[in-house]
Symmetry: D2
């Protein structure tokens, strides 16, 4: 059964083709033409001169990004449900050498300027407390909500006022962009973001992410941290190939559009199913729904096995769609939901 996570999705044929093509190149580390063109490719995407540091997981991308601007004795303001706090086994603490995460709350895993101000304001300006050095948001969030450009900009302005670096975890950045109809530039550096974890693995590649850096000095330091963490792959061309295939010709946005579209279809059916309530608006490819036991049982009987979310044992479930969900599978889920509606309605 699919919908467990976009982590499991297939690699797009264009990416497979690019990997095969890269196999004929014969240069170690980043000496090849593909690797050498990566900054340029991403500079085009972001409409400014960026450094694109390839890396093979989102966890490492986030942790490196945080280590770029937060010293060991500092702290990072983030949402209490942020991936960096919940799902990375302390990678941010490892890469920053022990910086603290200061946790805020907010609907749908979104941080607001006022929450950030409140957290920063709770820290005394003395050496007894780890002073905030960065703020980190996830766009789209861990609950599938997006920050609009003006919302990002407001946090960017807050960060500027408080002297904080500003990081965006973009594990599902493409999905946010197509939902918002915004450009990468608008959603990042034009809104004050300093550094981006640019996810691709959930949306069509095999295992390649990137850290996008808008400052050359930071990028220079990161290259050492990147090597020191063991991410300087000897055949970097295979990572560059994936990333370039992903962003050229808009493959990434096309894939995200497909995934978001499937999520909308399913979300509409879920919302119309008795006993089912959407926990959050569905903006990208993640759906969180409360499903009452009867409705859940009916789905199970139709062979639909959903993923329960959270450790509390409640009735919350998460479905994540992907660019490559087979139409037949989506239709089967829709049919099961229609059946659940009928059977429950019949009581």
């Amino acid at each position: 059964m699919r919908f467990f996570s976009d982590n499991a999705a297939s690699v797009h044929p264009n990416v497979i083709a690019a990997l095969n093509a890269a196999n004929n190149v014969d240069t170690a580390y980043d000496g090849d033409a593909l690797s050498q063109s990566l900054d340029a490719s991403f500079s085009t995407v972001f409409e400014c001169d960026v450094s694109a540091l390839w890396i093979s997981t989102g966890t490492a991308a986030n942790a490196l990004a945080l280590a770029s601007m937060c010293p060991p004795h500092g702290s990072v303001i983030c949402h209490k449900d942020a991936h960096i706090q919940i799902d990375e086994c302390g990678a941010p603490e490892f890469y920053t050498h022990g910086a603290k995460l200061l946790l805020g709350d907010g609907e749908g895993a979104k941080l607001s300027p006022s929450t950030i101000h409140a957290i920063a304001g709770s820290i005394r300006k003395d050496v007894h407390q780890a002073q905030p050095h960065m703020v980190s948001i996830t766009n789209a969030t861990e609950y599938g909500l997006t920050y609009r450009a003006d919302e990002v900009g407001a946090i960017g302005e807050t960060a500027r006022q408080l002297g904080l670096g500003f990081h965006m975890d973009g594990a599902r950045f493409a999905n946010a962009l197509v939902h918002l109809g915004a450009t990468p530039a608008e959603m990042t550096w034009r809104s004050g973001i300093d550094i981006v974890s640019f996810g691709t693995t959930k949306n069509g590649t095999m295992m390649s992410e990137a850290v996008i850096v808008f400052d050359k000095e930071i990028a220079e330091v990161l290259r050492f941290k990147h090597k020191r963490a063991g991410f300087l792959h000897s055949k970097m061309r295979f990572f560059a190939a994936q990333l370039i295939a992903y962003v050229v010709d808009g493959l990434w946005l096309e894939n995200a559009r497909a995934a978001n579209g499937t999520a909308q279809r399913i979300a509409e059916r879920l919302a119309a199913t008795p006993g089912v309530t959407l926990a959050h608006p569905v903006e990208v490819n993640q759906i969180f729904a409360h499903i009452a036991p009867a409705a859940h049982k009916s789905l199970q009987q139709a062979g639909i096995d959903l993923r329960r979310w959270g450790s509390s044992g409640g009735d919350l479930y998460r479905l994540v769609t992907s660019y490559c969900d087979p139409e037949a599978l989506v239709m089967r889920l829709e049919a099961a939901l229609a059946g659940a509606r009928t059977s429950t309605a019949g009581r």
Copy 2:
């Protein structure tokens, strides 16, 4: 004005005398008789065979203690207002190499078994999350409450069930002991505690704390971490001298009894003052009181300058008494409170 913190208290004359006596000894590091007798002195105090590792601050004692049983990829369960979380600028994260603190709540900065179970239960048993390896409590707590031996024992049993090491921050351990009428053994290893930060500086010494370890293997590893952190003082005899003077002949308990007694006197007067409410029961030498503006102004006019507590700018104040608060000073505060009572009452 005193009552800001017991951190500022004078060094007890017995300790001064011990320091002077130690000056005639001529051995580097821990080669002298005083240093060599330290384990024995503390083994007597704790009624079992302990290793006593001297160290010059409570922050370092706590951080070392946490590093003894929590690996870098693990986490420590503690109260959200614990000193290790709030006031140590990330020292636990430094010494543990990036372990996480998992924060719980509870009245008066006390953790309960159910809170610990809830936090541990919220962590999935997979590699995506930093697994709990320790629980840490402060006794007396940061708000001046004590855990009774049976309460410590219940947490010890919880720790045992969950496979957690159990640390006690005893910055004001003596104050807790005399309030409870309990023995060091009852309050620590007999109740499941594995390692203790044994505070003395707030209660009569100059700058000597100790980490008390009940396991020889842990102690052996800590000796290396202790040196590596820069705490192997070349004239250790001066630390041993302080610690021994502190515990022999019950000086530590006598001092704590004096500080607690002064706190009781002041607390009673505070409670009787209109516009003043005690925020927590006063069990040791810390008093937290809400003082309404009129009452506070009246105290200020009498020359009493109290320390506002917390970053929220509210009406909470903290007073901490010490074994050496001059009687004249206490009487002056009592008089001011009596005056505040009258003047407010007269309205």
Copy 3:
């Protein structure tokens, strides 16, 4: 021009095929059948029950392996020219949280038991010095020499006597095995090795290495460190696929045999070229040769561009062969060497 490094070699068609096949699987992290069978595949290779932890670079494999048995306050004995000392930008120090490397010397980057004893003996058994906890060797070494099973066993015995963990960096393990005609078991755990960095990327895969662990408890801890470092790829099946394709049907040994054979052919020609001296016996796929200026110039004129080795600007050059060096290329090099012989001889 090839022969710069086996780091640049193409991915073997069998591995490409395995990657393509893995694309049809749909499970996140290590939930798929390939990932689940990895331990079994490597247990067959090593003739004992092992844990195989996939990881995408040799630097990370080495650093993780060292972190498994050396505490932050400890040290690792290794050769002064070891990859972990020279070419990993401090990754061992990062992953171990600051352990020290204690450097020894030895012909061809080989350590001997007596050198290890001498280094360990130079460390006082007190807390002022970081005590040795591990020894690490590279087989084949950074200069292309191999340790025979009895040589590994002698170091294993030394490690046992000194209480040290024993790590092998096997970046070119296959090349060593086929040279020696030994089995993986003989060369590792039967000779006292505790943990192995199992290289594959230089010999036919795209970007997959493994840490082979012979102890289940160590493996369990490593899984957390591995995730925390950001190496838990969400599509692990693509790493498992590479590793399994590499070891099944002896592909790895076949590839190594090819690379070693090419190196032998070239080495013989080099040795026969006036002005050229082999710096070390050529046992695997690395050749180190002193090439006098005239001979070097002659090669350059024939279009052969060799890699100078070391920072001292001397006449030492390194050639590394690979399983996929085209026969035409090897012949061209041979011809150039023959030409160099003639032209030099003609003077």
Copy 4:
């Protein structure tokens, strides 16, 4: 028996008096007048505006100083016999989060510009190697030699050319100063030094060292690292008191002069003793001498127990004098040496 180490020396009466006086002050942390005047006192000593960060051991002072200018992915050039390499159990690696020490050689533990250039030159300018960020020297060295101001200046110029920070471990700085007749300013910032570990414990205080910083931004960051390492003592006044008593009225130089003078007397006698050879010129208060077995036996018979130096079990011995060595003791040693001369001569 004395002469083992100046680490064991008594605390000077002036310092004891200052400690006693500080006991009447009642302010926590650094709120008191003594603490507040520390920067000013040391600015006078160094003839420029410095920040003086008190700390209780030299190991911590050195490690903090290195962490101020060397990032985790960097390296520090130092002598292979430097205290930071040999005797601090990895404290520099702990505080820098894993930076590497690059070791050079040189007579008497002295580094030269050419050695520093050679080490820096051996590091390729790529991300595979931890780039040098600092150089560290000890003055007087671990073998009791001094760098003259012009020698320090030449290293400072080298550091400037190579873009390195420059640290001085001044565990016995006073002894070097009085030997050279130079000023603190000449020997530090005027010669290019960025940061100083200012030792006092070996020369008259109880347990107080200082890190002297010539740059305000570095000092600001260090205050956080200092707290985070657990060195923000709650009764800082007792550290300030020691430091101020030490430097005012030239007590530190007077003590050093006494210790150096005693060393000269003993060194002359040693040099005149058959079977004894001085291993290094005696410039400060450390004497290294090769003592043949017969001479050594004769000294032992006279009750003189000397400290063998090094792990090799050779005939090298170290004697360290102190400002407070009793005249009677020195005379006894002199007599024994005279006796050794006679008895050996009689053979």
